[in-house]
Amino acid sequence: MNNKLMQMTLRLAIICAVASLVLGVVNIVTEPVIVERKRAEKEVALKELSDGDHVGELQLPANSDELHGKLSAALAAHGVIAPGEDFNEKELITSIYPVDRNGEVFKYILQLDGSGYGGTMVILAVFLKDGTFVKAKLMENNETPGLGKKAEEAAYYNMFLNTGSDAAPLPVSKRALSPADGEAVSGSTITFNGISRALALGSDYVKLLGGKN
């Protein structure tokens, strides 16, 4: 075999190997930090949303046709989807955390995916057992600063307060808002639509869960 060829190969291999070794070492240092940081971040977010109550284990939406049927009916009734329109709650509800006080579940924190102006938005939302909206936080999103990004502010969700129960449905179109609120979301209707629909889905889903753990 050609000597020069081998030498070349070897030298590149050595450089690569050394490089990866160095990276490996740095990784050994940083990875635990990164993992820990991420966990802590989520914990802080959940804690904030749960107002200090105990947050239970992560759950995923149930895999039941019956539930799906009921959910569809409820959503159609609330004008979130058109009658007969299909949707998949397992893609839209990515995690569920029951929140309990003294062992009794009284609210849920849902991680929801909504579609906004800049693509998918991740929303963490809190509902009482009867579906009443409590509070929410917009996590990852690509909305426009000054428009859709306004939904990152806690005050944005005031317009949903005390809605979501059977008595007071969540507003899912601008028409259902008070004129002042309607004015406020004007210019970012798409963000509003995405968020309100996600919340309506969460609310209806929670109602079906009915406090089960």
């Binding site: 030298r11 990276l23 940083t30």
Partner: protein, 205 residues
């Protein structure tokens, strides 16, 4: 000394060489990003220039590009991991562009054009000059874009200061385009024209 100054003005990588444009435009929405990005680039530039200069006789000519690139990529990955671990907010707002330092034309360009032919000491000076030149360019652009596009100047939070200076008047109704992609390109074009003008002024004196 001359080498150092060259990178700052005469051969400013952004305004004169028009290299490394993607990160320049992509992350220049906030001043703090520009500082972070600049620091990252300086680190990678110095590191890779040192290594390339050291290894210039070890690296076979036929595979020098992959070899340099591996060296650069290693430093980039280190920066990336360190940022993720210790300045997560910055890491998030720089996004994919930290990883893309690896393809920043300036760095490979300096490795090829300078470090591979010069001593370690000179390479460091060159890296510093180029890196700081790049950072200054980035700072100028981000200052223009953030002030116009958001009405703020975002720096690091320190003590009571939350890191954000608000420009009265602009902050309530900023020219938002400047924080979006068209504004980046427009600002770049006019800054470059301004730079040309400065240069011609200098030449005349």
């Amino acid at each position: 000394m001359f080498n150092f100054l060259k990178g700052l003005f005469k051969e400013n990588p952004i305004f004169v060489l028009a290299l490394g444009l993607c990160p320049t435009l992509a992350v220049s929405t906030q001043v703090v990003n520009a500082i972070g990005m600049g620091a990252g680039v300086i680190f990678v530039l110095i590191g890779s220039n040192i290594m390339v200069s050291l290894l210039k006789n070890f690296i076979p000519d036929e595979v020098h590009i992959p070899a340099y690139i591996v060296i650069i990529a290693s430093f980039v990955t280190i920066v990336d991991m360190l940022m993720q671990a210790f300045v997560p907010a910055l890491s998030a707002s720089l996004g994919v562009f930290v990883k893309l330092i690896v393809v920043n034309c300036i760095i490979l360009g300096r490795a090829e054009a300078y470090a591979s032919k010069n001593s370690v000491k000179d390479s460091i000076v060159d890296a510093l000059g180029m890196g700081i030149g790049f950072t200054i360019g980035l700072l100028v652009i981000s200052l223009v874009r953030e002030v116009l596009g958001s009405g703020t100047i975002t720096l690091f939070p320190m003590g009571n200061f939350d890191g954000v200076i608000e420009i009265p008047g602009l902050v309530d109704a900023p020219v938002r385009i400047f924080s979006l992609s068209p504004g980046a390109l427009l600002a770049m074009g006019f800054l470059m024209a301004g730079f040309n003008w400065l240069k011609s002024k200098k030449k005349e004196d």
